[in-house]
């Protein structure tokens, strides 16, 4: 079976087009479904908001207040509200404390800043400790400490041993 050069080129172009279509199809499908992906579920919301009375995630709470809060969320989900709209409604009812994640303003910002600052401080301390350790072990410029060669006595004994084995 033989192919003309022109036929081979067409086959290559066709193969590339098929491959591109296969690669792009999921992206296009996802884009087409974008509006529905904004829809949320009670389960999804439950993992991101608190039961203010219980002080736990709504998904873990079984108190009467949590039951009412879940019913409220479920009603909003059925109305087609998005996740952020539902969270806004919850904040309007219960205040910012209903959000499981800190809101990133006021004192709540420390929840984000403290770990970063702690990490930077730890990194600086670690770098300082390593630098100090390397300095104390001799190589101030980063090079390994110089190793002295064998002493004259050691050289003499080595020569004797080598001579004994006739190497």
């Amino acid at each position: 079976m033989t192919f003309s050069p022109r036929g081979g080129r067409l086959t290559t172009i066709f193969a590339v087009l098929v491959a591109l279509t296969a690669l792009l199809a999921p992206t296009v499908a996802a884009a087409a479904e974008a509006p529905s992906s904004l829809r949320t579920t009670l389960n999804e919301i439950e993992e991101e908001v608190m039961c203010p009375v219980c002080g736990t995630l709504l998904g873990l709470a079984e108190s009467p207040q949590a039951t009412r809060e879940k019913a409220f969320v479920e009603k909003l989900v059925k109305e087609g509200k998005t996740k952020s709209e539902i969270k806004d409604e919850l904040v309007a009812q219960y205040g910012d404390a209903v959000l499981a994640e800190p809101n990133g303003s006021g004192f709540s910002i420390s929840a984000y800043v403290v770990p970063i600052v702690a990490f930077i401080i730890a990194a600086i301390l670690l770098a300082g400790a390593v630098w100090k350790w390397r300095r104390s072990s001799g190589g101030g410029d980063g090079s390994l400490p110089a190793v002295e060669g064998p002493s004259d006595e050691d050289r003499r004994r080595l020569d004797e041993d080598l001579g004994r084995y006739d190497l």
Partner: protein
């Protein structure tokens, strides 16, 4: 060496400060008799606008913290309404504060029990925390000068209201 000691002391101080802050901010000491009752502005439950305990200065006010999901609150609601009917006047009122509750649920509750006294909505529970509540229902009798006269953590009934609250009210308000 001195720098290291200073850093260690600073870290220790920061940790202690954080712990103290945590304790202070979480601390929920109950309002004591004689202390001034907090009176932040809160949205009204059944109508637009806001209100505050401050507006009732000059009156005795029984502040009742409740929530629609709270079963003991359902039990005490008829007794409170009856007490309001008997003692409500320009010298005395009950002020309901629906706390950590959905406003629609609170409104339905007030309608269901035909509560005639004013109601505010404390959705995030901050006002309850300022009073030092540990749950609902809780009741606080506030003097006309805004100082706390009496409090009970838990539900009230006709007996408690008549035997403990009524004697504290001035005769005029009892007659009105």
């Amino acid at each position: 060496m001195r720098i290291r000691s200073v850093i260690a002391v600073l870290v220790a101080v920061a940790i202690v400060a954080l712990l103290v802050f945590g304790l202070v901010s979480k601390g929920n000491s109950r309002l004591a008799v004689g202390e001034t009752a907090p009176s932040p502005e809160l949205p009204k439950l059944e109508e637009p606008g806001s209100g505050s305990l401050k507006e009732y200065r000059g009156q005795w006010v029984l502040v009742n913290f409740w929530a629609s999901w709270c079963i003991p609150c359902r039990d005490e609601a008829p007794a409170l309404e009856q007490f309001q009917k008997e003692h409500g006047s320009k010298n005395f009122t009950i002020l309901g504060i629906d706390t950590q509750d959905l406003s629609d649920d609170g409104t339905k509750f007030a309608d269901q029990y035909e509560l005639s006294y004013p109601q505010l909505h404390d959705g995030n529970g901050d006002t309850g925390h300022e009073f030092g509540t540990t749950g609902v229902p809780e009741n606080y009798l506030v003097k006309p000068n805004g100082k706390l006269a009496w409090a009970v953590a838990g539900p009230v009934d006709a007996k408690i209201l008549n035997e403990q609250v009524s004697p504290l009210l001035p005769p005029k308000s009892k007659e009105s």
